[in-house]
Symmetry: D4
Subunit: 211 residues, 8 copies
């Protein structure tokens, strides 16, 4: 429920036992469990204790467990996810996991930071095929603006906390997406889950309209 957005457990500040218990409940009630921001060691402990098919996405730091009879949804729409560099991979990965669990196809376009424009331009065809795009915004947060100027689909910016110095808590990136001179909407810093879910909602609306 909650609009078809799968519930996810936010691991920080919880003990492994607490997370495991919440995973159990989720499996019992919805047939599926997702945990975000989970370290690989904790993931192993939980995987060992659950029944069903568990997948740990290392770079996304997410654990997904499908219970016995769970049938993952599938929707005929594509979410494109674009990153500028390595620092963007964790939140972008989190977004990918959620979008996929909503049932969307996910297309990744990686390492096309604005410091080297040809990389973005080389990927234009792939970018233009997505029904909705999530674009990570690390450092100065310019990538979503550049991408939104090149594609017709709606763009959701995902600001990422990276770098150091003034504005390095993701404030520079967030302000860059709020002040963008193109049209886009944004989520909070590092909020991969929210970006993935919002893109998933849009993809589902499009898929539902498809004949």
């Amino acid at each position: 429920r909650r609009r078809g957005i799968p519930e996810a457990v936010f691991a920080p500040g919880k003990t492994v036992e607490e997370v495991a218990a919440l995973v159990g409940t989720a499996l019992d009630t919805t047939g599926r469990a997702i945990v975000t921001r989970l370290g690989s060691e904790d993931a192993a402990v939980i995987e060992a204790g659950v029944e069903g098919e568990a997948t740990y996405h290392e770079r996304a730091r997410c654990l997904v467990v499908h219970g016995g009879g769970f049938e993952p949804p599938e929707i005929s729409a594509t979410v494109g996810i674009v990153t500028g560099g390595t620092a963007d991979r964790e939140p972008a990965g989190e977004a990918a996991v959620i979008a996929r669990e909503i049932g969307a196809s996910v297309e990744r376009v990686e390492d096309v930071g604005v410091a080297n424009l040809t990389r973005v331009v080389d990927q234009l065809d792939r970018l233009r095929e997505a029904d909705v795009l999530i674009v990570a915004a690390g450092r100065e947060g310019a990538l979503p603006t550049v991408v939104a100027g090149l594609v017709p689909a709606p763009v959701i910016a995902l600001p990422v906390s990276s770098g150091y110095g003034f504005g390095s808590d993701g404030e520079a990136a967030l302000l860059g997406t709020l002040q963008s001179c193109t049209v886009l909407s944004t989520v909070n810093v590092d909020a991969g889950f929210v970006a993935g879910a919002q893109a998933g909602l849009i993809a589902r609306s499009i898929a539902a309209a498809r004949p």
Copy 2:
């Protein structure tokens, strides 16, 4: 072009003559001109000087001019626009103008602030019919969160600068949308144009998918 989002002239900081000239150019090149944040007196001056059908939206403070042969686009999708109180009407109105110029149907739900929940609940049926929702976030910015918990469609929050005291430049409202405990994406404070255009892009994608 620009993804089918109509160009708009941002009036503040420009003389009436400058705005009028930009309106002329827009009419010549695209058959349509939109001006945002325009006072009623300036609007009258410009209306007097243009050819074509001019409409001034007083509460939205927007002027729209359609040139002689201009055929407004029409798309078979609905943008719902929700406000909590009078202070939200200008940015929400700006969003409505843009969404309509993109061709979407616009459904307004007004004055359903969270201080009186029954008002929101009374409008649930209308809210659930929209393909995508823009929800204004004045004062503490709680309304988008409440609405997004009640409807299946994607929600775009539009923080509004209102009130006084600490956080009254719209910062409270913006933070409220970024920290929302439901799924939504946001635009900058008072950015009605961006909210309307982003909702319009989503509406168009849905309409395009319709058989």
Copy 3:
């Protein structure tokens, strides 16, 4: 003294020995000792060393010790304490401990976050019975506004630091309570002690007026 508000020891930055010594002094002089923000291990050490009846409130992270002849006050008024989710439990628990030590009856209403309005509405009767309410404000801080729109009693908002990204130190929640479009007053982020004591003062004034 101090208006009948029990003195409490704030544990962070103190060694177990220092806390234990302060507990001893408090017991000797007032017959009661309260420690806030105390870990369970430190609590066990202190409990082992004191005379009197010690209770450790795990979720509130508070230790309460009543000395031999201590007679806890009792006042005929009820403080309602409302939370939206698990992250709110520690500060809300701290508030509950203090309100109870002042002598009030405490009524807890848990996990009624605004993302699912029916949960709040289902509890309306219980909410309306309280003489004064403390409402936790996590994430975007909308819950106190929603509750204050539904009940006649005075509401004290208790902003909670939770989530991540911009505004996650409780700033979003605090601004949300300061800019609330209903009538309420607020305490600082995570200030459960202050919220509990202020609610206790109000409850005591009401109880004192009762014939």
Copy 4:
């Protein structure tokens, strides 16, 4: 309704005509109209046009109109309102108007700023008679803390924007009330209406308990 708090029209950003119309509606539906932050000239225009008994509170910049048959509520409880200097008078006055319209007795204690402690101490007896206190917090915002250390009743701090330089938008005063080393709750900067209404709610609860 709305918990017995009278509706008030917030004048800034509205034309005299708009305010007058809202006053008319309020008189028709509730028998009373209150306007806050209204200049004396606008007040005169509105007074000239209304039926009923109109009072303009110059220092509070509030207009109150009681329609023909309106019977003002009366409750047997006292709200004390304390200011440190001239700059505090407008928000404190606004609070007084609202508390009185809720029906409370209001007791003013003026110009007892902390730079001269004897002034506060000289008023102790009057301060201790109030059922609930509103204490204005101008400049460094120390007065509510000092008063709350001297009286048993609940204290609501009302931070005031005054002075100049860093923190002069009321931020210093607000932070001072949030970090207070005594127990109190606070409202937003210059929010006299909210302070008066919250104090009125508490006073009413106390009065209702009185036999």
Copy 5:
């Protein structure tokens, strides 16, 4: 002196008479006078009263006066100045005036905002000919990063205060230049004078090295 940077009078906060007097002194002592941030009406008053050749740069809001025998310096190096849109023209124009008064050739590249990448790419040859570049950074401040990724010369970013909402005082743009993922240095928001002078210093060092 002062490293060959011409002295300039900063007009805001000065009366026309004060500015005129400072212009007179500058002409007498250095043979030249520059005034920044001067309105056209004040410029006309001053022009009328000085001897020498006066030029008012309307878009830059700068007045330059060369006294009778003044011989403007000339250096064999080029400063490129790049803007994204109309809002950047005033600070960029100020920079151009100063760079030219230092003796550099100035090459303007206008309206190449990142929302439409082809515009920047079309100008690559001109951009690559400059010895040093000033790139204006309005809105999200992405343009300097994009340009610095395309040219070999040193880039000085000039953040511009434009737009509205959160970060619109130029903070978004400034953070964008500080967090840039390419190599560049920055000046303060709207500091056209400083950008022009710093670029002029670099151009002069290069010119001095030329045989």
Copy 6:
């Protein structure tokens, strides 16, 4: 030299070896060494290795070493140092050490926080005897304002980072001293060294004037 203010080593970020080396150099060149913000274990290591008379001030976290022939200065003036609570003791202690090393007599007045005014008033005679006062400003930072209203001597405020929630990094306290409605000057948060040295400079000027 440096105006007679003793050089001090700031320990954080340095290894024990680095601190020990700097202590050695200071002893050789000036006959004295002072280390601030030093843990007791590191202090023990350094004490063991130096010649001369070493004193570790535990609560101030300062180590003072006087070399063989060092003759401590003595000046006939008194610095009063006032604290509101335990959290103020470390920075106040640091100030005391420095003032004493400059040669002043130091008079401590402890735990006279504004939540209980009688404590301050009880100490008035001692406060009035000091030639210059340092007053710690924890939490809301009201104490320096209250003291400066009671004594004729110059007051230097020393804001202290304590508490939790919004403004707890000492910002509330600092703003409180900057916005004080009495006359005082301030130093940075936790800057005990600076407060002690500035008070020492004033004390020395007064002592030098004494016949």
Copy 7:
């Protein structure tokens, strides 16, 4: 009283009539009246209406009136007041007026900004003669640090709001004085009154010690 600091009327936000009335009261009760931040036209109106000797300090924007039998205090100590440029003159002038009214000799050192170090160094002898120094801190706020490194007397920094762009509300200057690598204390931005009064208190203590 109030430590011998003369009361001053802060003009902003008061009508001429209100200021005139307060001047009258001050003259009656203390024999002297000081008004700060007063425009020249308002000053002329007030001067015309008072008895006694009135002096309007144009650059300081202060009015001083000495009643018939008033005998201005005189103390044998000197306050040095140092400015870097024209923007510093108003707050520095305000400080000078207050220091002189406390009875100190005032020595002004003007236009010795750090961009041209020789100017400061040329004035070293005059700087070293003062008993206490007020040093204005405009723009980046470096001047107090440089001066405090050159003179033995206590230095009070007076940050000034000047310039434009990020930090131009005096925040850069204030942070510069708080983070100074020499010993000094500071007052709030533009707080000439406070700087002058604090320097006057120190001067008086020194003068009182003189035999």
Copy 8:
């Protein structure tokens, strides 16, 4: 490529293995590898595993590896690097490493903080010989302003996070460089890599112009 700026690996957040792998790739593709912000223990591990000539710069915390046939570039221009104290050495060292790897001569001027002006003045001849200067800005950030007032070459300010209290994250230093009353440009806090690369670009342009 990338303008001749050598690629560098930013170590924080990467495992030793990841850094080692990136070093290997860099050596293979460009003949050189640079790692910034690397601890000495990790550096030893990596040095042990690489072929080629490895140098670990301890104070700069940078590792540089030149592969077998790598020929370091050499350019006939000098970058001066100025620090005020020990806290500046790490970022200044990082800048030095990068400038040298670009091929410039590097001249270091150390410990010339503004609290003791004679130290800067004593080094004037060396400062004036540099073609471009990087000046570290610790604490209040005054040093770049002072140096830029003394030398004709372009100055790049490098703000450093040091000290404690308000503004100690480098904000004071950054604001000081942005508000400087001389002409300079700045990089982000602690951005030694960027300062070194920008100075290297300028040095290279000058060297390229040399006959």
